[in-house]
Symmetry: C2
Subunit: 526 residues, 2 copies
């Protein structure tokens, strides 16, 4: 069907002569882009004044998705309509995420248009309606999430669908493979590339630096990428950052590993699992802790880092991420099934998750714990040392020349002899330089008002105390626990010492601890 | 366990004397509230500067939920962190939704604190993990959604879970009952309270005013609430608003119904289904069209309006909401099952949804169509007249004194005699006053470039043309279709006439139509 202007045409007629159809649309929504400094996390948001030509003429709907074009680049953003006078009618304000994705300069001209839904959105709908997702569909959804073509609402629907009980093993494998496929992938010139991972939820538990040092000292290849804290008081990358440089790019990381056999760098800088970063923030916001997401997240990161053999530490305890032995068994089975499907050799090791591992909680306080173990000092935390040796022993046994059951004593020998400590220093030097962690300006020790035996520790609330003290933003902040499980405490003896950079933060942490007596529960002496 | 300050306490000690634990937290996050005029739709968002004491000291996480307290009132809002200089460090900026919910004045002091997750969030997680939702849980989730205690991300997860194929009949009933329970409910002094509803997706199809007029003229009780357009070019309330007042409160609505036996008011003003308003915008954004949501939305509104007997019009066509007879049958069955469970008598009537009903699309253009039918003018649209009579006939047959099969002729008699037209005018007078609909300032007729028979009409894209012309924002805007299915068009004959208030909008609508030749498909003469 062709169309042409009718002879009875009124005012619109002469307009046709000025502009083509496309030109008309483009001109209608031509605006000056401005950075307004709103952190909406990773969602791209565009702010337009209610009275702007783009808003009025295109007739945006609620929660509309808009294409913002700048030269050959374009992004998709969610629209927020402004009625305040802080944004001009000729301006298109961008959130930080949108600003960085578009890469324009202040005042550049951009054009705006309605966005058609992302292609992957129909796969998402299909999944919700009961179809199975295959790998290519997962990959399309993840790529659109990374590129900002899916809104947070769409990502929430995707995460919900993946969390649902019906998400089967084949889909779990498809999702994990897709997460690898949408990021960078490292390859190493060795048949055995080692790695370890703790499922988390436990404060302290900073075994990674110790394990990498031991394994690399034994001659193993262990190119470790770690994360920064998202909701915890410290990630391994935060702790390492108090002693050396961790934001290495891929080339620098490769150089360190080639020289030292191991590294401990921040995974965020090498972009190994960009999809995980996008999904995790929505998952946390929903407090969804599904096995599917956890497995896809963990195994995709290991696969992307080029690992072939991985030890997975699964702490189990009432306030750890995995709360019961049954849950650990179910998670372990699915982990091994997916790992086998993507050709990863995985050993799952269940550990005690009833209390923190080590006494320090917070980036630098955990670094001090690590150093005490590596330096074999008398005050090294016994449970951190033992747990690190258990895991390092299992990693060493992936080497066919290490007999089963002998890994732990080999690991202990390397720690005891100082070889692990020397290797740790060499790795830090290779990454930049080694320096001692910082110490907080303010401290406050809370003592017990009663005498008794410690029976329960709430890991989650204890972590919150450390966060209120400033961790991980202030590297020196956090707390040191003096009252582990089963210890007998006499009234007046210390329960914990808070570390902070400011009096205010010390106070918040203390107020919170004192108003939550269940954080450390005691069976009082009668 | 009690705690007390240790003797070795450093700076924090004297602070304890100044402030109680609670006071310290409250003071820390005391800010001046400011309305910044950002329309985030219904989500409450609070904007804090990165360097504000609230942001720095409480250590907000990504996508944090924050409680904002003002006197005895409080709201929960999603945090956006500002690094731009347009918001001061002592200010807490509120989105429009947050501003209206909190009810504070510019510059009032508010306190901010972390929000614990809404209680219903754990029911939501349970549902996603595979449990069944019962009515009390649905009600908790809906109430939290209405009150802004659930974030858009949580609402998206809820909508996704409800859309999933496993959502069973009992849950569908529970959700529908909960939607009634969280809103107002009307009661009428009559055993038979009539209503009708069209499932939508079809432009035009403005049968409601005609049916209400006929049924009320017959002595039936039909207190009709209608919606405004969300993504369509016009809702019944938009069309009625071009002829009378529609935003009546409950008392005014009751007075009209008592006097006239019927009304046609805007449901949004009487707050009959507040949960639906909150969910629908997320559903639209996800483009989820599940039977569960549709049924809960439609039946809860009817139940809340006090209806006992309802005719549901389900247009079926490739670009209607319901696309196949099979889908219509499945929807019809679930509709009847849920209706029976909540004690509503429902008749489902399948109709032709292949093309618009009536020729006008847009609030006033549809009002003119309605008036032509009511006034029995020669140019009244035959399909609109017939469709309205079919439905009115079914409604009339709910009266036990009307024999099955005689409703339609009774309806036709009331229309033909002018009784329906007089009743319509009386209803409009009772609602405020009757006035003629407006006429657009600009028009443009698009003619066919070829000759042939019209074979297909894309309802959705045709609706978009009307929206680009300015509907429903400009009541007079939209289009008139001259080329219904099966009509033979000679080259140069009109296909449609665009109506708009500005040349620009006329141009957008025309550009879009001309670049989408599939909107009106023709089998060209050979």
């Amino acid at each position: 069907m062709e169309t042409k202007a009718a002879e009875n045409a009124t005012p619109a007629r002469h307009i046709r002569d000025e502009l083509t159809a496309e030109g008309a649309l483009a001109a209608s929504a031509r605006m000056q882009v401005t950075r307004i400094g709103v952190d909406t996390y990773q969602e791209s948001v565009v702010y337009l004044h209610r009275d702007s030509i783009a808003c009025k003429s295109i007739g945006f709907d609620a929660l509309a998705r808009v294409v913002v074009r700048h030269g050959t680049r374009s992004i998709v953003a969610t629209l927020n309509v402004i009625s305040g006078d802080w944004l001009g009618t000729g301006a298109a304000g961008l959130s930080e995420a949108a600003w960085h994705r578009l890469g324009a300069h202040q005042g550049d001209h951009v054009t705006l248009a309605h966005s058609s839904p992302a292609e992957s959105a129909s796969d998402l709908r299909g999944k919700v309606y009961g179809h199975r997702l295959v790998r290519a569909q997962c990959q399309g959804l993840l790529q659109d999430a990374i590129d900002g073509r899916l809104s947070d609402i769409e990502i929430a629907a995707f995460v919900t669908a993946c969390t649902s009980a019906e998400f089967d093993l084949a889909e779990s494998v498809a999702l994990t493979e897709a997460m690898v496929a949408v990021g960078e992938q490292l390859h190493w010139p060795s048949k055995i590339v080692l790695d370890k991972h703790s499922v988390g939820g436990l404060p302290g538990n900073r075994t990674t630096p110790i394990i990498v040092a031991i394994v690399a000292a034994a001659g193993g290849l262990i190119p470790k990428t770690s994360s920064r804290a998202i909701t915890s008081p410290a990630g391994t990358a935060d702790t390492m950052a108090t002693m050396t440089k961790v934001d290495l790019d891929l080339r620098a990381m490769r150089r360190v590993v080639e020289r030292e056999g191991g590294c401990i760098v921040w995974g965020g800088a090498v972009s190994l699992s960009p999809a995980d970063d996008v999904l995790i923030r929505v998952e946390r916001s929903l407090d969804f802790d599904s096995d599917v997401q956890l497995i896809a997240s963990v195994l995709s990161k290991k696969k992307a880092a080029g690992a072939t053999h991985v030890v997975l530490d699964v702490p189990v305890g009432p306030t750890a991420k995995v709360r019961t032995p049954e849950a650990a068994a179910a998670l372990g089975k699915r982990l091994l099934d997916v790992a086998a499907a993507i050709d990863l050799s995985v050993v799952v090791q269940i550990s005690d998750g009833r209390q923190p591992v080590g006494r320090g909680i917070g980036p630098a306080l955990e670094a001090w714990e690590v150093l005490r173990v590596l330096r074999n000092t008398e005050d090294a935390a016994v449970n951190l040392r033992n747990h690190a040796l258990d895991l390092a022993g299992r990693v060493l046994e992936f080497d066919p020349s290490v007999l089963a059951g002998t890994g732990r004593s080999k690991a202990e020998g390397l720690l005891q002899s100082g070889a692990a400590w020397r290797k740790f220093q060499s790795i830090c030097e290779a990454q930049g330089a080694f320096h001692e962690p910082p110490v907080a300006a303010q401290r406050f020790t809370i003592v017990s008002g009663t005498s008794g035996v410690v029976t329960d520790i709430d890991n989650r609330k204890l972590a919150k105390v450390a966060k209120l003290a400033g961790a991980p933003r202030d590297a020196s902040a956090g707390l040191v626990l003096h009252a582990p499980l089963e210890k007998h405490i006499v009234a007046g003896e210390p329960l914990l010492t808070l570390h902070a950079e400011s009096e205010g933060e010390l106070r918040y942490a203390r107020d919170y601890f004192e108003s939550h007596p269940q954080i450390i529960r005691m069976d009082n002496d009668s």
